[in-house]
Amino acid sequence: MSGYLGDVAALARKDLRLELRARDTLPAMLLFVLATLVVFHFAMPADAGDDPAYGLLWVALVFTSLLGLARAWVPEREAGALDGLVLAPTDRSAIWLGKTIASLAFLGAAEVVAIPAFVLFFAPLDAHALAGVVLASVGICAVGSLVSAMAAASRGREVLLPLIFLPLVIPIVVGGVGATISEEPGKFLAFLGLYDAVFAILSWAAFEYVVTE
């Protein structure tokens, strides 16, 4: 197990190092989420109330994550590095888990900027909403890392990723919005936790079949 976790850590560290060098993904995510919130700020009628704004927060987070996930496997596509990882004797699910952790770090960094901006432009967020953001981010990155690997292996990757990813994260949006505006946020947080557990296990088990022809 320590060998497995060591492999996961090495793979996630590699992704963080690549991003620090290339700065391909995180700056784009930060600019995108800020620009989206600014556009929403001017697009929303002044008397619309807080609830529609909470919905827009989730739209902004989902599309920001999509931007990051679209680039997640680019380093592996270059120079055939994914084949190198697939041939390595590590459990192939470690490749998915390392990528999920790195994607979560990038999304988390974008949220650290996005949430204060949302509070500034729109409305306050309570602890339940923040817990919802954390749980939703785990689910988004778990499913997204699998789906983006599938898309990366196909010719129409730019089209395929949103077509598969967006329907799969509808439950996350439902859970996240519920945790943000419902008077009973606990059941929505439990729903998000269940989604994370189910989809993380499915993605973990399915990754092996995604990376072999």
Binding site: D83, L87, T90
Partner: protein
């Protein structure tokens, strides 16, 4: 009693959609054998090599390799490294994943042998094609594989690099099992124990 083969291919076929790129390929390889795979462009050499290392599965037939994938080494048309990592960082990552004992010493020795020691701290994106190919060879040899599968390994190398590779293959001959797809079979006549010529299907 003859040693059991470590590679057994029987009536292997591989199609991509309606296009059949490989048909009816059968062979056995024992430990220490060196198989040269030749054929025109599009004859299925790369496909056969990807089937051998498990990066693809046959559409029909069987291909059995009696080794764990930790004992396989592969250099394809691409070097299978990260372009924005340095040579040292790439080999260190693979060394960890392959659990290479005395990793740093082994990496240093391979970088020296393939003339990359002075460039060890440079990103692969700054390498020439030949240097990248040498790094791919270092990666494939890092864990001392028992089955080494090389797809046109001389293609990007200069005279010196090709000479280094020939020396390496000669030193491995008889110990590791080698499968090399090549358009220059005469280069490897001294190490080859068998050859397989693929025709276009």
């Amino acid at each position: 009693m003859a040693e059991a083969p470590i590679v057994t291919a029987r009536a292997v076929e591989r199609s991509y959609g309606a296009r059949r790129v490989l048909r009816g390929v059968s062979f056995d390889l024992a430990r220490g054998d060196a198989l040269l795979v030749t054929g025109a462009n599009g004859s299925g050499k790369t496909t056969l090599l990807r089937l051998l290392v498990g990066l693809a599965v046959p559409s029909r037939g069987t291909i059995d390799v009696a080794l764990h994938r930790s004992r396989l080494g592969f250099v394809g048309h691409e070097p299978l490294v990260y372009r924005e990592l340095t040579a040292l960082e790439n080999l260190d990552l693979y060394g960890r994943l392959y659990r290479v004992p005395e990793r740093r010493e082994r990496i240093g020795m391979l970088l020296e042998r393939f003339g990359l020691w002075d460039a060890r701290g440079e990103r692969v994106s700054a390498f020439s094609r030949g240097m990248t190919q040498r790094l791919g060879l270092c990666r494939a040899l890092l864990h001392e594989p028992e089955l080494l599968v090389l797809d046109e390994p001389h293609s990007a190398l200069d005279t010196q690099g090709a000479g280094l590779l020939d020396q390496e293959l000669e030193s491995l001959a008889g110990q590791s099992t080698l499968v090399v797809a090549t358009h220059e079979p005469e280069r490897l006549e001294r190490v080859a124990t068998a050859s397989l010529s693929l025709g276009t299907t």
